[in-house]
Symmetry: C3
Protein backbone atom coordinates (compact mmCIF):
# COMPACT_ATOMS: atom_id res chain seq x y z
CA UNK A 1 0.00 0.00 0.00
CA UNK A 2 1.43 3.39 -0.99
CA UNK A 3 2.03 6.25 1.45
CA UNK A 4 -0.72 8.19 -0.34
CA UNK A 5 -3.21 5.40 0.30
CA UNK A 6 -2.11 4.97 3.92
CA UNK A 7 -2.65 8.71 4.47
CA UNK A 8 -6.11 8.57 2.89
CA UNK A 9 -6.98 5.65 5.15
CA UNK A 10 -5.76 7.62 8.17
CA UNK A 11 -8.27 10.35 7.30
CA UNK A 12 -11.05 7.79 6.84
CA UNK A 13 -10.28 6.13 10.15
CA UNK A 14 -10.49 9.57 11.72
CA UNK A 15 -13.93 10.13 10.15
CA UNK A 16 -15.27 6.78 11.37
CA UNK A 17 -13.86 7.12 14.90
CA UNK A 18 -15.23 10.67 15.19
CA UNK A 19 -18.67 9.55 13.99
CA UNK A 20 -18.66 6.55 16.35
CA UNK A 21 -17.53 8.73 19.33
CA UNK A 22 -14.65 6.24 19.67
CA UNK A 23 -12.19 8.26 21.76
CA UNK A 24 -9.75 5.36 22.19
CA UNK A 25 -9.83 4.81 18.43
CA UNK A 26 -9.14 8.51 17.84
CA UNK A 27 -6.13 8.36 20.15
CA UNK A 28 -4.43 5.71 17.98
CA UNK A 29 -4.53 8.08 14.97
CA UNK A 30 -2.40 10.78 16.61
CA UNK A 31 1.20 11.04 17.74
CA UNK A 32 1.33 11.01 21.58
CA UNK A 33 2.63 14.59 21.50
CA UNK A 34 0.19 15.81 18.85
CA UNK A 35 -1.43 19.24 19.03
CA UNK A 36 -4.82 20.18 17.63
CA UNK A 37 -5.64 23.78 16.78
CA UNK A 38 -9.38 24.13 16.31
CA UNK A 39 -12.51 25.88 17.55
CA UNK A 40 -11.31 25.53 21.17
CA UNK A 41 -7.84 26.94 20.47
CA UNK A 42 -4.56 25.00 20.53
CA UNK A 43 -4.85 21.85 22.66
CA UNK A 44 -2.50 18.95 23.38
CA UNK A 45 -3.90 15.56 22.37
CA UNK A 46 -5.19 14.49 25.81
CA UNK A 47 -7.05 17.73 26.42
CA UNK A 48 -8.55 17.62 22.92
CA UNK A 49 -9.66 13.99 23.38
CA UNK A 50 -11.47 15.00 26.58
CA UNK A 51 -13.60 17.41 24.52
CA UNK A 52 -14.71 14.42 22.42
CA UNK A 53 -16.03 12.46 25.44
CA UNK A 54 -19.51 12.64 26.86
CA UNK A 55 -22.71 13.70 25.16
CA UNK A 56 -22.20 15.73 22.01
CA UNK A 57 -24.49 18.48 20.76
CA UNK A 58 -25.81 16.25 17.95
CA UNK A 59 -26.54 12.51 18.34
CA UNK A 60 -25.39 11.49 14.82
CA UNK A 61 -22.65 12.83 12.55
CA UNK A 62 -21.15 12.00 9.15
CA UNK A 63 -17.69 13.31 8.25
CA UNK A 64 -17.46 13.34 4.45
CA UNK A 65 -13.75 13.94 3.76
CA UNK A 66 -12.67 15.22 0.36
CA UNK A 67 -9.53 14.00 -1.34
CA UNK A 68 -6.48 15.39 0.50
CA UNK A 69 -3.86 17.50 -1.25
CA UNK A 70 -0.78 15.54 -0.12
CA UNK A 71 2.85 16.71 -0.10
CA UNK A 72 5.28 13.97 0.90
CA UNK A 73 8.61 14.76 2.59
CA UNK A 74 10.78 11.61 2.42
CA UNK A 75 12.90 10.37 5.31
CA UNK A 76 16.28 12.10 5.65
CA UNK A 77 18.97 10.69 7.91
CA UNK A 78 17.35 9.92 11.27
CA UNK A 79 14.25 11.93 10.50
CA UNK A 80 11.20 9.80 9.57
CA UNK A 81 9.10 10.55 6.48
CA UNK A 82 6.53 13.29 6.92
CA UNK A 83 3.55 14.51 4.92
CA UNK A 84 1.31 17.53 4.87
CA UNK A 85 -2.38 17.04 4.04
CA UNK A 86 -4.87 19.76 3.12
CA UNK A 87 -8.39 18.33 3.14
CA UNK A 88 -11.84 19.82 2.63
CA UNK A 89 -14.65 18.12 4.50
CA UNK A 90 -18.37 18.51 4.96
CA UNK A 91 -19.55 17.49 8.41
CA UNK A 92 -23.23 16.61 8.61
CA UNK A 93 -24.49 16.95 12.18
CA UNK A 94 -27.88 15.25 12.42
CA UNK A 95 -30.28 16.48 15.08
CA UNK A 96 -32.70 14.47 17.19
CA UNK A 97 -35.90 14.78 15.18
CA UNK A 98 -38.06 13.41 18.02
CA UNK A 99 -36.86 16.32 20.15
CA UNK A 100 -37.45 18.82 17.33
CA UNK A 101 -33.70 19.40 16.89
CA UNK A 102 -32.62 20.56 13.42
CA UNK A 103 -29.50 19.59 11.49
CA UNK A 104 -26.28 21.52 11.00
CA UNK A 105 -23.88 21.21 8.06
CA UNK A 106 -20.35 22.56 8.35
CA UNK A 107 -17.70 23.16 5.70
CA UNK A 108 -14.28 22.42 7.21
CA UNK A 109 -10.67 22.56 6.12
CA UNK A 110 -8.24 20.23 7.89
CA UNK A 111 -4.54 21.01 7.54
CA UNK A 112 -2.50 18.15 8.96
CA UNK A 113 1.14 17.35 9.50
CA UNK A 114 1.52 13.56 9.58
CA UNK A 115 4.57 11.49 10.46
CA UNK A 116 5.51 7.83 10.18
CA UNK A 117 5.72 6.70 13.82
CA UNK A 118 6.19 3.11 15.06
CA UNK A 119 5.49 1.85 11.53
CA UNK A 120 2.24 3.71 10.93
CA UNK A 121 1.22 7.21 9.82
CA UNK A 122 -0.24 9.42 12.56
CA UNK A 123 -1.28 13.06 12.81
CA UNK A 124 1.28 15.21 14.62
CA UNK A 125 -0.37 18.57 14.24
CA UNK A 126 -3.83 19.47 12.99
CA UNK A 127 -5.24 22.90 12.24
CA UNK A 128 -8.97 23.08 11.53
CA UNK A 129 -10.82 26.00 10.00
CA UNK A 130 -14.57 26.40 9.65
CA UNK A 131 -15.35 27.80 6.21
CA UNK A 132 -19.14 27.93 6.40
CA UNK A 133 -22.14 26.61 8.35
CA UNK A 134 -25.73 25.93 7.34
CA UNK B 1 -3.14 0.11 -11.38
CA UNK B 2 -3.26 -0.84 -7.70
CA UNK B 3 -6.08 -2.78 -6.07
CA UNK B 4 -6.99 0.35 -4.10
CA UNK B 5 -7.42 2.34 -7.32
CA UNK B 6 -9.37 -0.46 -9.01
CA UNK B 7 -11.75 -0.52 -6.03
CA UNK B 8 -12.19 3.27 -6.15
CA UNK B 9 -12.96 3.03 -9.84
CA UNK B 10 -15.52 0.29 -9.14
CA UNK B 11 -17.34 2.71 -6.83
CA UNK B 12 -17.17 5.48 -9.43
CA UNK B 13 -18.51 3.22 -12.17
CA UNK B 14 -21.35 2.37 -9.80
CA UNK B 15 -22.11 6.08 -9.28
CA UNK B 16 -22.13 6.82 -13.04
CA UNK B 17 -24.24 3.76 -13.94
CA UNK B 18 -26.74 4.56 -11.18
CA UNK B 19 -27.01 8.18 -12.32
CA UNK B 20 -27.38 7.15 -15.97
CA UNK B 21 -30.05 4.52 -15.08
CA UNK B 22 -27.78 2.02 -16.88
CA UNK B 23 -29.06 -1.27 -15.51
CA UNK B 24 -26.86 -3.39 -17.80
CA UNK B 25 -23.85 -1.37 -16.72
CA UNK B 26 -24.77 -1.87 -13.07
CA UNK B 27 -24.96 -5.65 -13.60
CA UNK B 28 -21.32 -5.79 -14.71
CA UNK B 29 -20.20 -4.31 -11.37
CA UNK B 30 -21.62 -7.15 -9.27
CA UNK B 31 -20.82 -10.81 -8.83
CA UNK B 32 -23.63 -12.92 -10.44
CA UNK B 33 -24.56 -14.22 -6.99
CA UNK B 34 -24.32 -10.85 -5.24
CA UNK B 35 -26.81 -9.79 -2.59
CA UNK B 36 -27.84 -6.21 -1.79
CA UNK B 37 -29.25 -5.32 1.61
CA UNK B 38 -30.90 -1.92 1.41
CA UNK B 39 -34.13 0.00 1.85
CA UNK B 40 -36.09 -2.87 0.24
CA UNK B 41 -34.51 -5.56 2.44
CA UNK B 42 -32.08 -8.26 1.32
CA UNK B 43 -32.38 -8.91 -2.44
CA UNK B 44 -30.44 -11.09 -4.87
CA UNK B 45 -28.83 -9.15 -7.72
CA UNK B 46 -31.52 -9.76 -10.37
CA UNK B 47 -34.36 -8.69 -8.09
CA UNK B 48 -32.43 -5.60 -7.01
CA UNK B 49 -31.65 -4.66 -10.62
CA UNK B 50 -35.38 -4.83 -11.42
CA UNK B 51 -35.98 -2.11 -8.82
CA UNK B 52 -33.59 0.13 -10.79
CA UNK B 53 -35.59 -0.18 -14.04
CA UNK B 54 -38.40 2.06 -15.15
CA UNK B 55 -39.18 5.60 -14.07
CA UNK B 56 -37.52 6.63 -10.85
CA UNK B 57 -38.97 9.06 -8.32
CA UNK B 58 -36.49 11.78 -9.37
CA UNK B 59 -35.43 12.43 -12.98
CA UNK B 60 -31.78 13.35 -12.21
CA UNK B 61 -29.37 12.10 -9.53
CA UNK B 62 -25.74 12.64 -8.58
CA UNK B 63 -23.99 10.07 -6.38
CA UNK B 64 -21.05 11.83 -4.70
CA UNK B 65 -19.00 8.99 -3.19
CA UNK B 66 -16.53 9.72 -0.41
CA UNK B 67 -13.19 8.01 -0.20
CA UNK B 68 -13.69 4.37 0.83
CA UNK B 69 -12.08 2.91 3.94
CA UNK B 70 -10.53 -0.18 2.31
CA UNK B 71 -9.32 -3.35 4.01
CA UNK B 72 -7.62 -5.78 1.62
CA UNK B 73 -7.63 -9.53 2.24
CA UNK B 74 -5.01 -11.10 -0.08
CA UNK B 75 -5.58 -14.32 -1.98
CA UNK B 76 -4.97 -17.49 0.05
CA UNK B 77 -4.71 -20.87 -1.65
CA UNK B 78 -7.66 -21.19 -4.04
CA UNK B 79 -9.51 -18.25 -2.53
CA UNK B 80 -9.32 -15.06 -4.60
CA UNK B 81 -8.38 -11.71 -3.04
CA UNK B 82 -11.19 -9.91 -1.27
CA UNK B 83 -11.72 -6.43 0.08
CA UNK B 84 -14.14 -4.66 2.36
CA UNK B 85 -15.10 -1.06 1.60
CA UNK B 86 -16.86 1.36 3.91
CA UNK B 87 -17.93 4.45 1.97
CA UNK B 88 -19.91 7.55 2.87
CA UNK B 89 -21.91 9.09 0.04
CA UNK B 90 -24.23 12.00 -0.50
CA UNK B 91 -26.91 11.29 -3.09
CA UNK B 92 -28.44 14.40 -4.64
CA UNK B 93 -31.87 13.60 -6.09
CA UNK B 94 -32.91 16.46 -8.33
CA UNK B 95 -36.64 17.07 -8.79
CA UNK B 96 -38.47 18.17 -11.93
CA UNK B 97 -38.68 21.93 -11.41
CA UNK B 98 -41.22 22.38 -14.20
CA UNK B 99 -43.54 20.06 -12.29
CA UNK B 100 -42.88 21.86 -9.00
CA UNK B 101 -40.98 18.85 -7.59
CA UNK B 102 -38.40 19.67 -4.91
CA UNK B 103 -34.99 18.06 -4.39
CA UNK B 104 -33.95 15.44 -1.85
CA UNK B 105 -30.44 14.93 -0.45
CA UNK B 106 -29.56 11.68 1.27
CA UNK B 107 -26.57 10.75 3.43
CA UNK B 108 -25.70 7.11 2.80
CA UNK B 109 -23.21 4.57 4.06
CA UNK B 110 -22.27 1.73 1.71
CA UNK B 111 -20.56 -1.28 3.24
CA UNK B 112 -19.32 -3.58 0.48
CA UNK B 113 -17.59 -6.90 0.24
CA UNK B 114 -15.75 -7.04 -3.09
CA UNK B 115 -13.97 -9.96 -4.73
CA UNK B 116 -11.63 -10.40 -7.68
CA UNK B 117 -13.72 -12.38 -10.18
CA UNK B 118 -12.77 -13.18 -13.80
CA UNK B 119 -9.91 -10.69 -13.56
CA UNK B 120 -11.89 -7.71 -12.26
CA UNK B 121 -13.16 -6.51 -8.89
CA UNK B 122 -16.92 -6.81 -8.34
CA UNK B 123 -19.28 -6.29 -5.42
CA UNK B 124 -20.35 -9.54 -3.79
CA UNK B 125 -22.41 -8.16 -0.95
CA UNK B 126 -23.57 -4.61 -0.30
CA UNK B 127 -25.26 -3.25 2.82
CA UNK B 128 -26.63 0.28 2.55
CA UNK B 129 -27.72 2.47 5.45
CA UNK B 130 -29.48 5.82 5.23
CA UNK B 131 -27.92 8.18 7.79
CA UNK B 132 -29.97 11.31 7.09
CA UNK B 133 -32.28 12.96 4.55
CA UNK B 134 -32.97 16.58 3.70
CA UNK C 1 3.76 8.65 -7.08
CA UNK C 2 1.38 6.91 -9.50
CA UNK C 3 -0.32 8.62 -12.45
CA UNK C 4 -3.66 8.17 -10.65
CA UNK C 5 -2.36 10.05 -7.63
CA UNK C 6 -0.78 12.79 -9.74
CA UNK C 7 -4.12 13.28 -11.50
CA UNK C 8 -5.99 13.48 -8.18
CA UNK C 9 -3.50 16.07 -6.98
CA UNK C 10 -4.02 18.06 -10.19
CA UNK C 11 -7.73 18.26 -9.36
CA UNK C 12 -6.98 19.28 -5.78
CA UNK C 13 -4.55 21.98 -6.88
CA UNK C 14 -7.31 23.24 -9.16
CA UNK C 15 -9.75 23.38 -6.22
CA UNK C 16 -7.31 25.29 -4.00
CA UNK C 17 -6.27 27.75 -6.73
CA UNK C 18 -9.91 28.42 -7.67
CA UNK C 19 -10.84 28.99 -4.01
CA UNK C 20 -7.83 31.27 -3.45
CA UNK C 21 -8.58 33.26 -6.67
CA UNK C 22 -4.99 32.41 -7.68
CA UNK C 23 -5.13 33.00 -11.44
CA UNK C 24 -1.38 32.45 -11.94
CA UNK C 25 -1.67 29.18 -10.03
CA UNK C 26 -4.61 28.12 -12.20
CA UNK C 27 -2.58 28.80 -15.35
CA UNK C 28 0.09 26.27 -14.33
CA UNK C 29 -2.54 23.50 -14.21
CA UNK C 30 -3.49 23.80 -17.88
CA UNK C 31 -1.77 23.14 -21.18
CA UNK C 32 -0.96 26.50 -22.87
CA UNK C 33 -3.39 25.59 -25.67
CA UNK C 34 -6.12 24.29 -23.38
CA UNK C 35 -9.80 24.96 -24.01
CA UNK C 36 -12.51 25.20 -21.36
CA UNK C 37 -16.14 24.59 -22.26
CA UNK C 38 -18.35 25.87 -19.46
CA UNK C 39 -21.12 28.28 -18.56
CA UNK C 40 -19.57 30.97 -20.79
CA UNK C 41 -19.21 28.66 -23.82
CA UNK C 42 -15.95 27.35 -25.28
CA UNK C 43 -13.01 29.58 -24.34
CA UNK C 44 -9.25 29.33 -24.89
CA UNK C 45 -7.23 29.29 -21.66
CA UNK C 46 -6.29 32.99 -21.59
CA UNK C 47 -9.86 34.18 -22.13
CA UNK C 48 -11.15 31.76 -19.48
CA UNK C 49 -8.50 32.90 -16.98
CA UNK C 50 -9.64 36.51 -17.50
CA UNK C 51 -13.12 35.51 -16.29
CA UNK C 52 -11.50 34.33 -13.03
CA UNK C 53 -9.89 37.75 -12.31
CA UNK C 54 -11.43 40.59 -10.38
CA UNK C 55 -14.26 40.48 -7.85
CA UNK C 56 -16.33 37.31 -7.97
CA UNK C 57 -20.03 37.08 -7.16
CA UNK C 58 -19.30 35.34 -3.84
CA UNK C 59 -16.39 36.24 -1.53
CA UNK C 60 -15.62 32.67 -0.37
CA UNK C 61 -15.85 29.32 -2.14
CA UNK C 62 -15.05 25.69 -1.40
CA UNK C 63 -14.66 23.21 -4.26
CA UNK C 64 -15.28 19.73 -2.87
CA UNK C 65 -14.12 17.38 -5.63
CA UNK C 66 -15.32 13.78 -5.68
CA UNK C 67 -13.07 10.92 -6.67
CA UNK C 68 -12.43 11.08 -10.43
CA UNK C 69 -13.30 8.20 -12.73
CA UNK C 70 -9.91 7.91 -14.49
CA UNK C 71 -9.14 6.21 -17.81
CA UNK C 72 -5.42 6.15 -18.63
CA UNK C 73 -4.18 6.08 -22.22
CA UNK C 74 -0.46 5.16 -22.15
CA UNK C 75 2.15 6.83 -24.31
CA UNK C 76 2.37 5.48 -27.87
CA UNK C 77 5.33 6.35 -30.11
CA UNK C 78 5.82 10.12 -29.93
CA UNK C 79 2.44 10.73 -28.31
CA UNK C 80 2.60 11.41 -24.55
CA UNK C 81 0.38 9.58 -22.07
CA UNK C 82 -3.11 10.96 -21.76
CA UNK C 83 -5.99 10.48 -19.32
CA UNK C 84 -9.66 11.26 -19.18
CA UNK C 85 -11.20 12.24 -15.84
CA UNK C 86 -14.89 12.39 -14.99
CA UNK C 87 -15.38 14.11 -11.63
CA UNK C 88 -18.42 15.13 -9.64
CA UNK C 89 -17.99 18.19 -7.45
CA UNK C 90 -20.05 20.26 -5.08
CA UNK C 91 -19.10 23.93 -5.13
CA UNK C 92 -20.11 25.84 -2.00
CA UNK C 93 -20.32 29.57 -2.75
CA UNK C 94 -20.48 31.43 0.55
CA UNK C 95 -22.21 34.82 0.58
CA UNK C 96 -21.27 37.92 2.53
CA UNK C 97 -23.47 37.58 5.62
CA UNK C 98 -22.83 41.17 6.72
CA UNK C 99 -24.32 42.33 3.43
CA UNK C 100 -27.26 39.93 3.76
CA UNK C 101 -26.03 37.78 0.85
CA UNK C 102 -27.15 34.15 0.92
CA UNK C 103 -25.15 31.07 -0.08
CA UNK C 104 -25.33 29.04 -3.27
CA UNK C 105 -24.44 25.35 -3.66
CA UNK C 106 -23.82 23.92 -7.12
CA UNK C 107 -23.55 20.30 -8.29
CA UNK C 108 -20.99 20.14 -11.09
CA UNK C 109 -19.54 17.52 -13.40
CA UNK C 110 -16.03 18.12 -14.74
CA UNK C 111 -14.97 16.06 -17.74
CA UNK C 112 -11.28 16.59 -18.39
CA UNK C 113 -8.72 15.45 -20.91
CA UNK C 114 -5.29 15.61 -19.29
CA UNK C 115 -1.88 15.12 -20.85
CA UNK C 116 1.66 14.68 -19.56
CA UNK C 117 3.41 17.89 -20.66
CA UNK C 118 6.94 18.99 -19.67
CA UNK C 119 7.01 16.27 -17.02
CA UNK C 120 3.72 17.11 -15.30
CA UNK C 121 0.04 16.35 -15.89
CA UNK C 122 -2.06 19.31 -17.09
CA UNK C 123 -5.61 19.77 -18.31
CA UNK C 124 -5.87 20.05 -22.07
CA UNK C 125 -9.62 20.25 -22.43
CA UNK C 126 -12.29 20.68 -19.77
CA UNK C 127 -16.05 20.43 -20.19
CA UNK C 128 -18.14 21.50 -17.21
CA UNK C 129 -21.82 20.80 -16.69
CA UNK C 130 -24.04 22.18 -13.96
CA UNK C 131 -26.28 19.39 -12.66
CA UNK C 132 -28.19 21.28 -9.96
CA UNK C 133 -28.17 24.47 -7.86
CA UNK C 134 -29.51 25.26 -4.42
Amino acid sequence: VSAHDELRQLLQRYARAADERDVDGLRTLFHPEAEIDGVRGLLPLDAWLETMRGPQAFPVSMHLMGEPLIVLDPAAGDRPPRASLDTYAVVFQVGDRDAGQGDMTIGMRYRDEAVLHDGGWVFQRRTTTTLWMH
